[in-house]
Symmetry: C2
Subunit: 450 residues, 2 copies
Amino acid sequence: MVLRPVFSFKEFGTRVSDVLLRRNDAALRELIAKAGDEELASVIDPMAGDEKVRTLRALPAERRAKIMGELSEYSQETVLRLLKKEDLAAMIGAAESDDAVDVIQLLDDAARARIVGELRRHDPNGLLPLLAYGEETAGGIMKTELARFRATMTVDEARRQLANAPAKRVSQQIYVVDEQDALVGTIAPLKLLQAPTAAALAEAMQPAPASLPSTMDQEEVARQFDEQNAIELPVVGPKGKLIGIITADDVFEVMEKEYSEDISRLAGVDEDDHVSDPVLRTVSRRLPWLIVNLGTAILAASVVGLFQGTIQKVVILAAYMPIIAGMGGNAATQTLGVVIRALALGELHELNTLRTVAAQTIAGSLNGLANGVIMGGIAYAWAHDAKLAVVIMVAMTVNMFIAGLGGAIIPVVMKRLRIDPALASAVFVTTLTDCCGFFVFLGLATVFLT
Amino acid sequence: MVLRPVFSFKEFGTRVSDVLLRRNDAALRELIAKAGDEELASVIDPMAGDEKVRTLRALPAERRAKIMGELSEYSQETVLRLLKKEDLAAMIGAAESDDAVDVIQLLDDAARARIVGELRRHDPNGLLPLLAYGEETAGGIMKTELARFRATMTVDEARRQLANAPAKRVSQQIYVVDEQDALVGTIAPLKLLQAPTAAALAEAMQPAPASLPSTMDQEEVARQFDEQNAIELPVVGPKGKLIGIITADDVFEVMEKEYSEDISRLAGVDEDDHVSDPVLRTVSRRLPWLIVNLGTAILAASVVGLFQGTIQKVVILAAYMPIIAGMGGNAATQTLGVVIRALALGELHELNTLRTVAAQTIAGSLNGLANGVIMGGIAYAWAHDAKLAVVIMVAMTVNMFIAGLGGAIIPVVMKRLRIDPALASAVFVTTLTDCCGFFVFLGLATVFLT
């Protein structure tokens, strides 16, 4: 089967709606069996609540929790409200450990307490200890299903145990631990094939690879996979005890989440804001961000208010002032974009921060001068007013100097304060360039043009 | 070794500078041997040209091409200008096929022609056919190093060949092909371990997994990995002929690149704009974007220019007008962010586009009404001018209706026209909200307040 692009699944979505309508559960099961996780989630998201539940129930039990994790927050809430207790328990019991934990963490306090109570009595997949890890840490995204053997075991015995192991218990690497369960080495399955049967695993193994502490932030985990070109890395607890593995497909989810977060925050929306959400939820999610922006807009407008007398005398200033403020905002956004991206990709560090701030400020100023000359020239050609042209040129340069400086410093300071720079930098910096743009331009105009 | 966060490598960078300064190449080799690819690239990027070359030469030959691929565009140009021809040839010869092809594609026409000439005479790694694939397609990012056997071979013979295969020729899966080299199945190394030695591979294998056509766009490849939770997928040419594999670490690179592209384009900067670039390069890269923005700012300002008479009579309008325009811009950016993200993640398709546009438009209008009431209320409290308050409220609602509509429709139309919606949507939409905001507000003010 050669894959077709996911994007063209109009037909798939239509056929799912059709079998749902005809209440043909056998056809539904067959239809969704082959769909990818996110493809399926994006067909479920816009459905009515009971259809969401029916579609999930038509999936094999071990796949339901994974699909739950892909749904929008709104869909997850709807499904959890409608799902029967026994269906929820079955979903958790059949899932891989990392997906099961994700579902438990979606539950409200009462439902979670009930599940935890059940797990205290019977926890075959070892989920309870996993619930203790922070959701966005290595411990929170790892799974515990892996091939783990003592270093003293023989190659032959390991082969025999692997031959009988259930498929989901087998990792890409075979992990070798000492008596204290500390990770001491790994063996690739192929090497196990080639090793002498009577040898101890300790003789056949490679030294333990780089391993991830269970408390490492998931964003850092993704960066480590990228740095190591890894497809699977072990997670260790105190004293190097092997407690789980993270695989590349978990890292895809993390990368996608971080991508969504950064894009959303730069755009000033909640990361859970989703195209399939009902309108009123969208409105209530965005309103707080807009009200913050309204506050900053009022601040900038009050700067204009200070100069009413000047505008009354030279009305054309009202037309030029949004250009100065807006171009500062554009230059600030450019600088912010490059600096936030560099922070996200780990390219900005103690060694080059000062140089970067200086370079961004100079670049902003030079582009300010260039745009100031162009805009001053246009203004001069229009009205033959040299003083106005010079005021425009100077104000543009100063505001874009501020844009470069603020656009570089503010995200770096945010990062140091452990606030996500993508979250609030844009509001701060554009308020700065709006206020400064209006103040510098109208201030210069007051001094030189009235 | 438990990993430390990449971000805190001040010490690493300082020590690299130090050994470079002391011209101690043995210490340099030892120091950089353990660094991750991107960590190393971000230390090389800010170096002087000759230091970049010395650091690259201190790496094992097979790693140099991979690090080259991680450098900023400016660093790559510098290194290629300074590198000796024989060093370049050695770098290409020692690299994995995908990294080698990436380096060849960085060369200018003359240098590339020379390398291609050499490859025509001697091409042990089969690079020439790889150069024919588009850089951003499955064929362009795949590698050809993989374990491939005929279906008629016995398990025993396959095991013996694998035992002697060089490490880089071994993939995670063992691929089984027919006489025409078409992919017919795969075997996990563990299964090969468990299969009867005399059996043919055809009996021991699993059916061929989903495979990627060589022409598939890399963004779609990344989405397929995510959908399939895959860590390695085969790439096939015409008639299903197996030509390579793509592994999860290649997909990390693609995801990072797509992330960079989208963040950059939303911020209005070139995706190759990099914090370590020299100032003048930064200036010249950003200026074209800024001049486009200047053009749109002049367009919006000319709308203000139409209403000079109105502003002369009611000067306070000059303070309120950037609030109306700016809030439209903010609402448009929110809508754009959510819609562009949904398009990038494949969540928006034929089935839900119309519903999404309608929902975004209604959400924008309702938030416009809310912000209009707040802002109108503030204006009324300030000046007790009910007519002004109503004009502000209506203008805000209308402009945020336009923001919701434009913010949803424009990226969808861009996508249909096969233009990256992240590239130009923001400029279009904010020009729209600026012009409409000024026009509606000052137009209503002209009718009702003068």
